[in-house]
Chain length 442, copies 2
């Protein structure tokens, strides 16, 4: 048996016997000749079969032709035949004159989704939806992005963590918390690895990262929320302020975007009609209060009673950063203590502000970062200030009582980065299997 050749490697292969494996994309069943476009994980190729005819011009018996006529879209098969380079063939400049087919699994002929099917039904049939070259590319890009990040981390002596997702209490807020039946008691799903990645600091790990799931029982149905998402986290010791965290964040994003552009730039251009811009440091930094002024001067008043931004405000400040600094990224800094968690460090000279930031990318928040409060007495006061009971936080506060370095870090939503990088309309498109309040399948 001829060994399988990946379709992307056919152009560089020599003419002659060849074997490819993939699924049927389209069949053109013409009178004199049949064409099958076969697709695999690396590309698509045209298989060709001239029908057999008797000397009088009537169709001859042709089992292969019958088999081709019976092919349903999606059928997986191995095709053997003769590879032939022919520059007239639009699809890659090669075709395979078919000699045999070995069908691995015949598909049901009726395909439940089409090109114009809406996102929700496509999610029902996600495994078919993912056969689209664009969708396949999304996850290759994500793979490259993550690997570039991890390579940066590993080369810079970060330790990788796998923090537990089962917890005895809430990690962020008691709202939006999933409860688990845990033997005779209860457990909760981690809303973030916050407490446990901070734990690595008194443990003396220095610098850590984690890419893993996080869970929020958030009943919203926006284009950017999910009940389960992949959180990209880093935390580092011995920082002077959140500025050190932002620098790390910049270096990571630059390394990731560069890797994506290098590896997939051409394909992204071809399939998404997009040029990936590798950002340059420093990204603009705008204190939140100033950002709100800028947005107001652009004619938009954020309709919130607290000090926070809203999604339209984020779009506006992103537009400003792009116009003024040519940057798709902008850090909004120095959020008010009133809208930040108790563990964010507050300014030494103004307890109303925190050493924190949000990172906005193409108009949407993708990350929150901060210096953490590491002085346990201050931390306890800040928890009380937020109406929290320090006793319930005791296991967390212990991390600070036995010595801890100054530290900070960020959490970032993986699918949001990918969604915004590729200008996708919805986080569902950038998630392998989306989970929302009414979506637990497939």
């Amino acid at each position: 048996m001829t060994e399988r050749t990946l379709i992307k490697n056919l152009a560089a292969a020599t003419d002659g016997p060849v074997s490819v494996s993939g699924w049927v994309d389209t069949v053109r069943d013409q009178k004199k000749v049949q064409f099958v476009v076969l697709r695999d994980e690396s590309g698509a190729v045209q298989l060709v079969h001239p029908r057999a005819f008797a000397e009088d011009g009537t169709p001859a018996e042709d089992a292969l032709a019958d088999a081709i006529s019976g092919l349903a879209q999606g059928t997986f098969l191995t095709a053997t035949g003769e590879l032939k380079h022919d520059e007239r063939v639009k699809l890659g400049g090669v075709e395979i004159k078919l000699e045999g087919m070995d069908i691995a699994a015949a598909a049901i002929p009726e395909t439940p989704i089409a090109d114009d099917t809406g996102v929700d039904k496509r999610m029902d049939w996600r495994f078919l939806d993912l056969r689209q070259p664009k969708n396949n590319l999304i996850f290759r890009i994500q793979t490259t992005l993550e690997h570039a990040w991890r390579t940066y981390w590993v080369e810079n002596d970060f330790i990788e963590l796998h923090t537990p997702k089962l917890m005895a209490s809430a990690s962020e807020s008691k709202a939006e918390l999933f409860e688990v039946e845990y033997f005779e008691g209860k457990a909760y799903l981690a809303q973030s690895p916050q407490f446990f990645k901070q734990m690595a600091q008194p443990a003396g790990f220095g610098k850590i990262f984690e890419i893993g799931p996080a869970f929020r029982a958030d009943p919203s149905f926006t284009s950017r929320h999910a009940t389960e998402f992949t959180s990209v986290d880093a935390e580092i010791s011995w920082i002077d302020s959140h500025e050190d965290v932002m620098k790390l964040h910049e270096e990571l994003l630059i390394a990731g975007f560069q890797a994506v552009k290098d590896k997939h730039g051409e394909e992204i251009k071809a399939l998404f009609d997009l040029d990936i811009t590798v950002p340059t440091a420093p990204f603009p930094r705008i204190p939140l209060a100033e950002a709100k002024q800028i947005v107001a001067e652009r004619g938009y008043t954020v309709p919130r009673t607290d000090a926070d931004m809203d999604p339209e405000g984020e779009r506006q400040i992103a537009a400003y950063a792009l116009e003024k600094y040519g940057s798709e990224f902008v850090f909004l800094t120095d959020y008010a203590s009133s809208i930040r968690p108790f563990y964010h460090m507050r300014h030494a000279d103004d307890a109303g502000l925190t050493n924190s930031y949000d990172l906005i990318f193409n108009g949407v928040e993708i990350s929150t970062g901060a210096q953490r409060e590491h002085r346990v007495d201050v931390l306890i006061e800040q928890a009380k200030d937020k109406g929290l009971d320090p006793e319930e936080l005791d296991f967390y506060l212990d991390f600070f009582r036995y010595g801890v370095p100054p530290h900070g870090g960020f959490g970032m939503g993986l699918s949001r980065v990918v969604m915004l990088m590729l200008h996708l309309p919805n986080i569902r498109e950038a998630t392998y299997l989306f989970r929302g309040p009414t979506r637990l399948t497939p």
Copy 2:
């Protein structure tokens, strides 16, 4: 302010002003001179302070000496002083003559655990336990191992998945399933990414990997079980049999062990008194029935009524593989269908056996792999054969109805590999924060 130098870089630094940051390991508070061993994520260094004396030989006022006397183990601080190379200093051949200390967080003086504290109490204070150089090294090794695996995968065009951990039904068995309150309904925690990594095959992803959490409501308290563990998964298309999966598995383990030996071999020797053996392919393959005979000939009869091995049998066959083949790894193959899940492919000529294997490393099972049954009619029969209702599996069976390639893969427990590589007595030691039936904290 002098920039922070990592302690591991002091030996190569020139004598002169230096600043290091870390935590107090030990204080030797002698009459004439004080010594502090300061540890950071990269090593340990001796700080020295000769006490000040008046001309008449009585102790002089000395604020720094008082501060040193007051240092508790675990206090995090930044020390500045003069670096001096001195080959008489056992600890790295350097010391720092202390000039100042900036205390970031003073530790409570009483440390709740000591060197001889039992594992369960050490887990209560895991963040202190992890300060031990051996424990720190365990997670650096794990980082290197994972990165080597991912690098292998990425270089071989695998796509990284993040499959959902929230599911509408069981992925493996209805026993050992954690139930989650999910808005008005119920969800379940994934026991493995099995169904979803298989979904990538009809999706045309070709080759995929995932490292992520898996959850088992298993009430056992052995040295190798956890209710939450990190599962290392791969799945590939167009295999001929489980032999192709085993080949992938071998290549991965070789790449991972080589990377660990290259990067940490000396440290592992120093701290664990172990030489890492990089395995060579092929690992021995022994059909399970034959393995049971071999074990019986060694004088141990597996006391099970089903066809399976037991832990002592695994130790025995591992001892055999080490003696006979010099291999710490051994594949046990061709498990009986009766003890394998419905989705394992069965032998074409003997439905009583499966195209599957377990991988045993240093006497303990670390992984199960198999070729999957991709023919939906056969799959449905095998599900019924196991007493499963195909209707409940409908979303999974759909993956096969619209075309699917032959495929297979494995799942492997990350902490088990690390535990067995380093000869640790318990999986708790190889897990950042262990989760068991009675352990949800910290």
